[in-house]
């Protein structure tokens, strides 16, 4: 357990000197919302002692110097839409929210880049870029509230990674404040760069444990001219997953290949009052194809649709207009919410396996479900091998039973994913608080030791987002 100093009146007054009175929140009602993210609040929430809302990078640097001097933990925070507890102030202290730093600094049309502060809502950024016919392809499209800084800190993935990859692919430059309060300018508007270590890459996906991302320069792409979707039903989940492999081998790269098992479809359709013909469907794939030419997109759409038909699809629906596309994507996007309504006590998982092994995941989920009498809902980014298997407590089961069984299911699942399939326990949500105990168990010892050594080299006082990723960083 790490020992930190408390935030006292003197610290509050020094923080107020840095940000002004509007930038410091201490009122319990106001800081409560900074005590949790989108993971279960009861289980993981923790109150901060103070919340600061800086407006500039130099204010953040001053705050870090202050925290460093007084040995107070600082938890950086974006929109709080994370799913692994990364923004939760486990040891109290200061929550540093970048929400006021939401300006677009520059859209460089010659180099096709945008430079923005970390607190911009990524959806707003993309809406703005749309007017220029451009977009940030690494945007996870998960929540319309998430911030650019959080996307980078978590190296967010999302539904379009099959074709466009994850957030990190598009980050050209970063401005970062170190735990000691130094400001680093890393990378630049260049495609190639081996001038020294690629430090920028180290901060991408570091979950706010190495530095605070304050500004980023992002590579942009031209908006695709045409987008079409297929919604494909299968009799069994296994047949749907098998079709994914067939599509991936065919030489067409869809933008998304999303998988939904029967339970997730029924829960989401019930939740949305959607009347898709889903009742007898074993599983569905939602496949999106985009491109610069309508005719090419149409041809690929038909080709993929026919491949599905050849691979035991029972029906192939198409959505070529925006409103129908919104309608079918709503089914996929609302699964997590619908499952929460069914049972708020759950563990939303984020396992990822090599794409060739994805077919082997489902039988193991079935086995675990049977062995431990838990319901497992499975959906996610099948084209990336990234599945959001969600283990849920049946409403009738007791909390005691759940607490006993949840870690057992997770341990067996993680061990299978890592040791048998060569996968990882999180693809895009991160380790945060939620999985740190398990990461230690499944990660190779020497990699684990090297990672802690790196953390200590960057943050020897362990004041930046302590208690995340590592189970025993302080020992």
């Amino acid at each position: 357990m790490m020992k930190y100093n408390k935030v006292d009146e003197r610290i509050i007054s020094e923080l107020t000197d840095i940000t002004g009175p509007y930038g410091v929140l201490v009122d319990e009602m106001k800081i409560e919302q900074y005590s949790h993210d989108e993971t279960s609040q009861e289980e993981y929430g923790h109150m901060p002692e103070v919340v600061v809302l800086p407006e500039t990078t130099s204010q953040i640097a001053q705050i870090m110097k202050l925290a460093s001097r007084h040995h107070i933990p600082v938890t950086p925070r974006g929109a709080g839409s994370g799913l692994s507890g990364g923004a939760i102030p486990l040891y109290g202290g200061i929550v540093l929210s970048v929400e006021k730093m939401n300006r677009i600094i520059e859209i460089d049309k010659e180099n096709l880049t945008v430079t923005s502060e970390a607190g911009i809502i990524t959806n707003d950024l993309n809406e703005h870029l749309k007017q220029e016919g451009l977009f940030f392809a690494g945007y996870p499209m998960s929540l319309e509230t998430c911030f650019l800084g959080g996307n980078i800190a978590e190296n967010a993935g999302g539904g379009r990674a099959v074709k466009y990859g994850v957030t990190g692919r598009y980050v050209l430059a970063l401005e970062v404040v170190t735990p000691q309060g130094e400001i680093l300018q890393l990378g630049g508007k260049v495609t190639k760069d081996v001038s020294g270590y690629d430090l920028k890459q180290l901060y991408i996906g570091s979950e706010g444990t190495l530095g605070i991302i304050t500004r980023a320069t992002i590579k942009l792409l031209g908006l695709p001219e045409a987008t079409s979707d297929l919604l494909v039903s299968f009799d069994t989940a296994q047949e749907a997953i098998d079709a994914v492999s067939a599509i991936m081998r065919a030489g067409i790269t869809p933008t998304s290949i999303e998988f939904m098992d029967q339970r997730s479809i029924i829960m989401s359709c019930d939740y949305l009052n959607e009347s898709l013909p889903y009742q007898d469907v074993g599983a569905m794939l939602l496949i999106e194809i985009d491109g610069s030419d309508e005719a090419i997109v149409e041809r690929e759409l038909i080709r993929v649709g026919q491949l599905c038909e050849q691979n035991k699809a029972t029906e192939v629906y198409i959505a070529e207009d925006f409103s129908t596309q919104q309608r079918i994507w709503a089914v996929r996007r609302n699964i997590a919410e619908a499952v929460k309504v069914y049972s708020p006590v759950q563990s939303l998982e984020d396992i990822v396996v090599p794409i060739g092994s994805i077919a082997k995941v489902l039988p193991e989920l079935d086995r675990l479900s049977e062995t431990y009498h838990v319901k497992i809902v499975c959906y996610g980014h099948a084209g990336d091998g990234n599945l959001h298997a969600t283990i849920i407590k049946e409403p009738d089961d007791s909390m005691e039973y759940w607490h006993e069984v949840e870690p057992k299911v997770l341990r067996e699942l993680y061990s299978f994913i890592v040791h048998c399939l060569g996968g990882k326990i999180s693809g895009e949500h991160g380790i945060g608080l939620k999985r740190k105990e398990y990461l230690k168990e499944v990660m190779d010892k020497s990699e684990y030791t090297a990672s802690i050594a790196l953390k200590r080299a960057f943050d020897p006082d362990m004041i930046l987002n302590p208690g995340k990723i590592f189970y025993d960083e302080g020992q």
């Binding site: 009175p21 749309k130 297929l230 919604l231 959607e274 009347s275 898709l276 038909i302 649709g305 026919q306 038909e309 029906e315 192939v316 629906y317 198409i318 959505a319 070529e320 207009d321 925006f322 409103s323 129908t324 079918i328």
Partner: protein, 271 residues
């Protein structure tokens, strides 16, 4: 029986932009789609077909590019489609459009039922459906929210009014305009799309229709657009600051003044 569904190609409204100088919709760059409200008309026709074994014909008037929405209608399950296209029709208002469509429908032989969407999302007039009924002298039921009974010679429908609902029995032939509430729209299938791609859709021009030339297109349209203005929403926000305790009484008084000024509170009430 035969059911005709007139449909329209409209710009995708999620990104419609207006030219601030001319007030005209900027169509370049915005994708053309099937009017979303027409989907409910097609869906209603297909349900009728399932109930009474009808043949469903989609019809649209527009340039060559409008062929796309007819293909979509076929992909959803319509049996046939007719494309009405001629330079002479260009620029038609609702009166001239409904005249041309009515003439085309009249030329199709025995038609039992015409179903249209409530309105198109671009012009927003909701006039063309009722006008077709008028040209063809057909009974008209607008704002249909439910098809209660579907028979080959009559139907029972629920119609939404400003006060509530009406339940109406209508003899066919007739024309109805349907609301979103009428049904959930089915998705097109790949099989339907393949069928649509293979289908050759006939185009009818002026010489195929028995029309009065002076009723057609921009010249034949009595509606003249003088000016289009985009309504602007203006928000006047009053921010009363009271960060320190001693400023609160004044702030409360300002708030009362404001609410009284806007007639949201009566003068002197609860002060």
């Amino acid at each position: 029986m035969v059911i005709v569904v007139p449909i329209k190609q409209v710009p995708e409204t999620s990104n419609v932009q207006m030219d601030s100088v001319t007030g005209v919709m900027i169509r370049s760059g915005s994708k053309a789609i099937l009017n979303p409200l027409d989907l409910y008309a097609i869906e209603s026709a297909l349900r009728y077909k399932e109930a009474c074994d009808a043949r469903v014909i989609a019809v649209t008037m527009g340039p060559q590019s409008a062929m796309k929405v007819l293909k979509e209608a076929i992909a959803m399950g319509c049996d046939d489609a007719v494309h009405i296209s001629d330079r002479a029709f260009a620029g038609a208002d609702t009166w001239s459009t409904s005249y041309t469509l009515a003439k085309a429908i009249a030329g199709m032989g025995k038609v039992d039922l015409i179903i249209t969407g409530e309105r198109a999302t671009d012009g927003d007039t909701g006039q063309v459906g009722p006008e077709i009924a008028s040209w063809l002298n057909l009974p008209l039921v607008t704002y249909v929210s439910q098809l209660i009974e579907m028979r080959s010679d009559s139907m029972m429908v629920k119609r939404m009014t400003e006060e509530g609902y009406q339940k109406l029995e209508v003899t066919l032939p007739a024309l109805i305009t349907v609301l979103k509430e009428v049904a959930t729209v089915r998705l097109s299938t790949l099989k339907g799309k393949m069928r649509a791609m293979d289908m050759i859709i006939p185009t009818r021009t002026v010489k195929d229709l028995d029309v009065e030339p002076s009723y057609l297109g921009l010249k034949g349209s009595p509606t003249k657009v003088v000016k289009i203005e985009q309504a602007r929403v203006k928000r006047d926000a009053l921010i009363i600051e009271a960060m320190e305790a001693d400023k609160v009484p004044d702030a409360v008084i300002s708030l009362f003044d404001f609410l009284e000024d806007k007639q949201l509170l009566e003068k002197g009430e609860s002060r």
